[in-house]
Symmetry: C2
Subunit: 235 residues, 2 copies
């Protein structure tokens, strides 16, 4: 409970037809005629770090496609602590649960500068009814979420803090091995790995001493991937 809600700036109606990352997103393989079925505006949003896309428990009326940046899905436990259950990156979809009439399950918070598209539920429903292509893509997104959830449990919530942290770095570095990994503070780090934030801090410090990572600026890490791989599997 450390940050107040910062409302997203609404940028304007997105041009899906000419979307730059069209092959990644939910509407990726719509065809010309399909776009005519979009009868409500699809807004493009930009969120500052710390801003929320939506909050747990809200009756949702839209899904979101992440265009760039990183979003955390947070679940608040009865005792007040919080746990990060998933991270969403470019191409991922947030809020699928509104498609089955449920309120949002988590609170979705930007960890970095985030660009996202807001897809009104009705638009997705209609398209999903009319075109089997979108229907398939939707299931694909459900699958990805579920797959990530299972991975999160087995890789980031199992084993020693060292192992978990190594696996997190590997996961974040995976699709851009040469880019530095951007994190958002030791508190979040702990909430992702299911460890205390002091332990997170100590473990990161130890990784820096062992030259497994190098923190070039606060929360910006250069990783020695092979070495991390070794830590993730053995010790």
């Amino acid at each position: 409970m450390r940050r107040s809600r910062i409302d997203a700036a609404r940028l304007g109606t997105a041009q899906c037809r000419s979307c730059a990352i069209r092959d990644l997103v939910l509407f990726g393989d719509l065809q010309e005629g399909d776009f005519d079925l979009i009868h409500l505006p699809i807004d493009e949003l930009r969120l500052a770090p710390g801003a929320a896309l939506y909050h747990a428990g809200e009756e949702g009326s839209a899904l979101f496609t992440i265009r760039s940046g990183l979003v955390k899905l947070v679940q608040f436990l009865p005792d007040g602590t919080q746990r990060i259950v998933r991270l969403l990156r470019r191409g991922a979809v947030a809020g699928l649960e509104v498609m089955v009439g449920r309120p949002y399950e988590h609170t979705a918070i930007a960890l970095q500068e985030v660009e996202a598209c807001r897809l009104p539920r009705e638009v997705v429903e209609r398209l999903s009814r009319e075109t089997p292509r979108l229907h398939g893509r939707l299931m694909e997104r459900w699958y990805q979420s579920l797959h990530q959830a299972d991975e999160w449990l087995t890789e980031l919530s199992t084993g020693s803090a060292r192992r978990r942290l190594a696996r997190l770095f590997l996961k974040l570095a995976a699709d851009a091995p040469d880019e530095p990994v951007l994190l958002s503070g030791r508190e979040d780090l702990g909430a992702m790995l299911g460890i205390g934030m002091e332990t997170a801090s100590r473990t990161v410090a130890e990784f820096k001493r062992s030259r497994l990572v190098r923190e070039t600026a606060p929360n910006v890490f250069l990783c020695d991937l092979p070495a991390l791989e070794a830590v993730a599997t053995e010790g």
Copy 2:
């Protein structure tokens, strides 16, 4: 790796129209005409405890609806240990990933006597294309799996062993508060809660001493739900 595969007995082709638990299952709200679209046999299976519905990595050609009993979804970690990522009960669907062309993610093993229906992927695909009702039901199942995955992480993989165990009992007792809870051994218990089997054993023993549960027969437990509730939240 402690049990060899025991093949399920194939009982025969199911009669979906007259299914006893039709309101629970995937095909719950099909209508008369829809059944004509089923062009491949739907078999009904019965599995003994320890038998596998399918194995991780297999190219799947079918989904399964659980009619009765309890099934564990197991993920094997690189280091050989295993983790149970979900439990499936009456009405749940296993193997949704085949709907997006993926091999099975987990190994599905019966913990008790299990009855299940085998739904060929092609049948579900065809129905899902043709009837929006099934399409909705299918998304409902994805949602349930994802929801359970998130719960599993936040409730059964967070906090002390005492808390986790209490929450597991509560979860298993939830939909039949007066029935005893059936488990399948301390090893599995540990694999569900992400703790060692010795710790599982000790914690169960301690619950018995504190009269939180009573083990009327091996792996059959009567639970004091309010008391467990207290343990789950506070201590």
